[in-house]
């Protein structure tokens, strides 16, 4: 059936259905080969490299493009599925060889891999695409840099199907970094034919028209309304998707999204508030999955620029005065992983994140403050980003109340989203703030690199410690299997315990509500929808 016929029959079906005022479900009417998904934000581009492309648009890179490698799948204790950082699997690459000195990786591209227009995927395409990510700057360049890819000369085409990537220094982050959404492979022949002198990387064209080899093609994109994926039956990157079509609808109102999923008119409501997750989880007709977000913490940052917080005892006092349980109940609605109350003062493992050795103990807090010049208390504003007010506001209120009991007068300072980055992360001038950094690459050293090193973006505390800096420098590129790795990470975590420039509140989860018929939902570090494993069955679980 071609598209015109399909539309015709859809129209005929619709005439029939619109005559029935009590037709139960749009999703049902759409059939078993179409998944209907709701998101709350807007997809603003189909090109992940373009400056200004927002987070929700990254799902296009995931579903429509392929990378050289991808990650495996693992089952979490609650039965839900998640990507597996420790298993790197082929996507467009058939195999790869890491040189004995670990200073280059050579990829062999699958012989039968083709772009949608039928042309074969070659090493030239991969090289062009990686160079493009570097050339267009911004986030793609930073993310490529995290894997050690900074110079176009590092990508060497050996032959049509073989690409060698030279590394400046061996790093455990290089291979996984080729599996992130940014490292997509674009049909360079097609894109280059659309390039102009002022737009050599064809950003105008690829912004609206993807040119890839991925599991789905974009059938239509009504910016601000919907995106429709249709399956590419010639996909070689993995098992064919179980659905023929995926409709992504943008519905800004959270109450409307909830009504739609509760009525059963859609298959998946992606990223719902914790409050809804808690309430919907109690219902039998809806499946709610809350996946802990790897390498991500909601924290309260204490800025070293603020005089009282220069004192370790004051920082620890604050950590003892945070009402963790209450915050977990009232701000996280009990959905997340607790990050407080560890029994031992030293970390027993190198697992990250792990609970810190603090609980709510106001006596201890008062005693510690009593040892300092601030025993009579002080006043400090607590800032948070209005864009994440759903958890930050209740958390801030509870912190305000609890710190008041030990003599620290907290005032609340709400910062609008557009200002947040500038004041909190770039200028780093807020004395006390709530922050939510999470690293895509799932290793402790990567988190510490961004959040505990002086000058790095997410170190909103201005924490600066020579030992931690040395430990991060040593471990960032070291293989996890290296015997020197684990002791160093444990020491790093212990420093975080003692100095507490960042006090973890809890590890957040990504919550989604779905119809029990939708299967194959997987959590990914990029926190976007991966529709490729979706299947719609009659019943069953996960």
């Amino acid at each position: 059936m071609n598209r015109r016929e399909l539309l015709k029959s859809a129209g005929a079906l619709a005439i029939g259905s619109s005559m029935l005022p009590f037709l139960k479900s749009t999703a049902l009417a759409a059939g078993n080969d179409t998944a209907v998904v709701l998101i709350g934000n807007t997809i603003n581009s189909l090109d992940i490299h373009r400056p200004g492309t927002n987070r929700p648009s990254y799902q296009v890179a995931v579903n429509v493009y392929d990378r050289l490698v991808t990650f495996g799948t693992k089952k979490l204790p609650d039965g839900s599925l998640a990507y597996d950082y420790d298993t790197v699997k082929p996507e467009l690459a058939e195999s790869w060889v890491i040189a004995p000195d670990r200073k280059s990786i050579t990829f062999k591209i699958k012989a039968n891999a083709t772009f949608w227009d039928g042309s074969p995927v070659t090493a030239h395409d991969a090289k062009w695409s990686f160079e493009r990510a570097l050339a267009l700057g911004g986030f793609p360049k930073v993310q490529m840099g995290a894997g050690g890819f900074v110079d176009p000369k590092q990508f060497v085409v050996v032959d049509d199907r073989t690409l060698r990537i030279d590394l400046k220094k061996p790093s455990k982050l290089s291979l996984p970094d080729l599996g992130v959404p940014v490292a997509v492979i674009i049909n360079s022949k097609l894109a280059r034919s659309k390039a102009t002198a002022s737009d050599p990387w064809a950003t105008d064209y690829l912004h609206r028209t993807p040119a890839g080899s991925g599991a789905f093609k974009v059938e239509r994109w009504d910016a601000g309304q919907q995106l429709v994926y249709v399956r590419n039956d010639k996909w070689v990157g993995g098992p064919l998707p179980g659905v023929q079509r995926v409709i992504i609808r943008e519905v800004p109102s959270q109450a409307t999204r909830r009504a739609l999923i509760e009525r059963g008119d859609v298959h998946l409501s992606f990223q719902i508030p914790n409050k809804d997750a808690q309430e919907l989880a109690a219902k039998k007709t809806i499946k709610v999955t809350g996946s802990p977000i790897d390498n991500c913490l909601y924290v309260a940052c204490l800025n070293y620029n603020f005089e009282p917080f220069k004192d370790q005892r004051v920082r620890q006092a604050i950590a003892w005065a945070i009402p963790y349980e209450q915050i977990f109940k009232q701000a996280a609605y009990g959905r997340g992983v607790p990050m407080w109350g560890a029994k031992a003062e030293k970390p027993a493992t190198a697992v990250w994140p792990q609970p810190f050795p603090y609980t709510t103990d106001l006596e201890k807090a008062r005693a510690l403050l009593g040892e300092t010049p601030y025993k009579d208390g002080f006043a400090v504003p607590l800032s948070f980003d209005l864009g994440v007010a759903d958890w930050a506001e209740p958390a801030a209120l509870l912190i305000q109340e609890s710190l008041g009991k030990v003599g620290v007068k907290v005032t609340l300072d709400k910062v609008p989203g557009a200002n947040w980055r500038t004041v909190a992360l770039v200028e780093k001038k807020l004395p006390f703030l709530l922050e939510n950094f999470g690293g895509w690459l799932n290793t402790p050293c990567y988190y510490f690199y961004w959040a505990y090193l002086k000058g790095n973006l997410f170190n909103a505390s201005n924490y600066d410690d020579p030992e931690v800096k040395k430990l991060v420098d040593e471990t960032l590129h070291m293989e996890k299997s290296d015997p020197a790795y684990e002791p160093r990470i444990r020491r790093m975590i212990q420093k975080a315990f003692e100095d507490v420039p960042r006090i973890p509140l809890w590890q957040p989860t990504l919550e989604s509500a779905m119809s029990p018929t939708l299967q194959g939902y997987e959590f990914w570090f990029h926190r976007q929808i991966d529709a490729r494993p979706f299947r719609i069955g009659q019943n069953g679980n996960g």
């Binding site: 373009r50 987070r55 986030f139 009504a259 557009a418 500038t422």
Partner: protein, 339 residues
């Protein structure tokens, strides 16, 4: 002066206003706190990558130079590129304005159809049950926020009763929009003879337009009632009655026609503010209108989009005021518009 000359003169008068608006919106957007370059550089951006984005957006140049570029583009009819949606602002507005207009016009038709008879009857039968009803509707309409009415309607008619379609924007998931002619989906559907599409669009439009109508109904009904009361108490009406004119003629020709002027003024005002103020209705019903577009642009300091929105609204207001003035002269020949 001929009618046409007057209209042209009025349009001419609007030019300084529009120029003023261009300058003010340009300066205001720049005065907004927040840095679009830092925002769009995204997570884990470095100072260099923020600088790269700033240069790409042309924000590294001096304000006068940015303004000159903006004026040059504007003269060529180019409103610039919205960075948040990634589309040209003009295309975005053209696509979204019909959605807002369709919603607002339907709501206004609906509220006029109810408010005017209600107001007239309430004035004629003062303090009767219909007057009380009018009072109730007006109070409810003013005091209920639109997002609340919207959610309530969704809850009752979609969630509980299942009569209304899923609140998923302008068309059901199964339909593909008809070729754009007017931009109004119902009309385009009818023109393209795609009855199912037109029907689906009408169904999708029902709840949001009722929500908005409940809100716009209040000022209209109140104004109609007040103006009618004033007209009914006037001396010329006493004369008309004394002259033995029929009750219907007295009410409709003498009272109502005279009461119509303030109602038209209110209608113009209600139309203009509901076009911008139906953001909340748009959000609840996932309606792709200009209100939510402008709001999101403002939140992320998307300069081009905000400027384009304000400018197009200004043009719309100028046209609207002109229309209202012309309608005045038709309703009341004593009113003259000055050139």
């Amino acid at each position: 002066m001929s009618q046409l000359a007057i209209i042209l003169a009025r349009v001419g008068q609007a030019i300084p206003t529009l120029l003023g608006i261009v300058v003010v919106t340009f300066l205001l957007t720049r005065a907004l706190p927040g840095d679009p370059a830092a925002y769009f550089a995204g997570a884990s951006a470095t100072p260099e990558s923020i600088a790269e984005i700033r240069a790409k957006l042309g924000l590294d140049r001096s304000l006068p130079r940015q303004f000159a570029t903006y004026l040059k583009d504007l003269a060529a009819g180019d409103l610039g590129q919205s960075i948040s949606t990634g589309q040209p602002v003009a295309a975005e507005l053209l696509k979204r304005l019909p959605a807002s207009l369709e919603l607002t016009l339907t709501a206004l038709l609906l509220s006029v159809a109810i408010a005017i008879p209600l107001g007239v009857l309430a004035a004629v039968y003062q303090d009767s049950w219909i007057d009380q009803l009018c009072r109730f509707v007006v109070t409810a309409g003013v005091s209920l926020p639109t997002f609340f009415t919207g959610l309530l309607l969704v809850y009752v008619f979609y969630f509980l009763l299942g009569i209304a379609p899923a609140p998923l924007g302008r068309l059901d998931i199964l339909h593909v929009p008809p070729p754009q002619i007017t931009g109004f989906l119902i009309l385009d559907g009818l023109l393209a003879r795609q009855w199912a599409v037109a029907w689906s669009a009408a169904r999708q439009l029902a709840l949001p337009s009722i929500t908005l109508a409940l809100f716009t109904l209040a000022p209209l009904a109140r104004m109609t009632r007040a103006a009618m009361l004033q007209a009914l108490a006037s001396e010329y009406l006493r004369t008309a009655r004394a002259a033995g004119l029929s009750r219907g003629r007295v009410l409709m020709v003498y009272a109502f026609r005279n009461a119509l002027l303030p109602v038209i003024t209110t209608l113009g005002m209600v139309f203009s503010f509901s076009l911008g103020a139906n953001v909340l209705v748009e959000k609840v019903f996932a309606w792709p209108g200009i209100g939510s577009f402008a709001l999101e642009a403002l939140v992320v300091s998307d300069y081009a989009a905000v400027q384009g929105f304000v400018l197009s609204m200004a043009v719309l207001f100028v046209l609207l005021n002109l229309t209202v003035d012309i309608v005045y002269t038709l309703v009341d020949p004593r009113v003259k518009i000055d050139g």
